[in-house]
Amino acid sequence: MNRMKRTRLAIAGTLGAVTLAGIAVPALAQRDPAYDAARQAGQVAEKMDGYLMIVGSSSPSLEALVKDINIKRRAVYAEKAQAANATLQEYAFTAGCLNIARTKPGEKYEAPDGSINTRTSAPPERDPRCP
């Protein structure tokens, strides 16, 4: 009896956790489909300084998209840097390390020598200071 009760409680707990997670996920804003497509197509690269750049041929819509994201990133970096008692450049560079680490195979990133690399399944080439 006791065992059954415990099992039921465990099931109820698991269901509760799943429900909570289900609610929490959509709260996080997702990437704009155009931005996601540009990343996957290798039209944009993650730079070491924490911002995006256009790779290859540009278009007004792509320029607007990259500019918009970079302005938003800069605002976020600036706010968080101040809270962490760091400079904007320090915070942005740290985020750049992570952004490059988070690229998916096929996406592009800036290597320490300044060249633009395409991410493979292997770890990306990053600045030696990156965590």
Partner: protein, 85 residues
């Protein structure tokens, strides 16, 4: 006494121009490959300058210590703002 003379003396040595036919098949092939090799290369190494200026960002002021201190915070920031990362 008559001076002694060979009945069929060899002709005097002479320099003949090199010809493909006289080099045999292997020699001819080598010459042809060498010529083709020269044709394939335009004769010099061409170095083209990049059309964009070379930008070397010297972030030497950013220390690894600072980056490690900020890493966890930055990770959260990226996850919280998934739409722009």
């Amino acid at each position: 006494m008559k001076p002694m003379k060979l009945t069929s003396p060899a002709r005097t040595a002479h320099k003949a121009p090199m010809e493909l036919a006289k080099m045999g098949p292997a020699g001819a092939a080598k010459t042809v490959i060498a010529v083709l090799g020269l044709l394939a290369l335009p004769g010099c190494i061409s170095v083209t300058a990049p059309d964009k200026p070379i930008v070397i960002e010297l972030n030497i002021n950013i220390t690894q210590e600072v980056i490690y201190r900020l890493a966890a915070d930055a990770e959260n920031t990226i996850e919280e703002n998934a739409d722009i990362f």
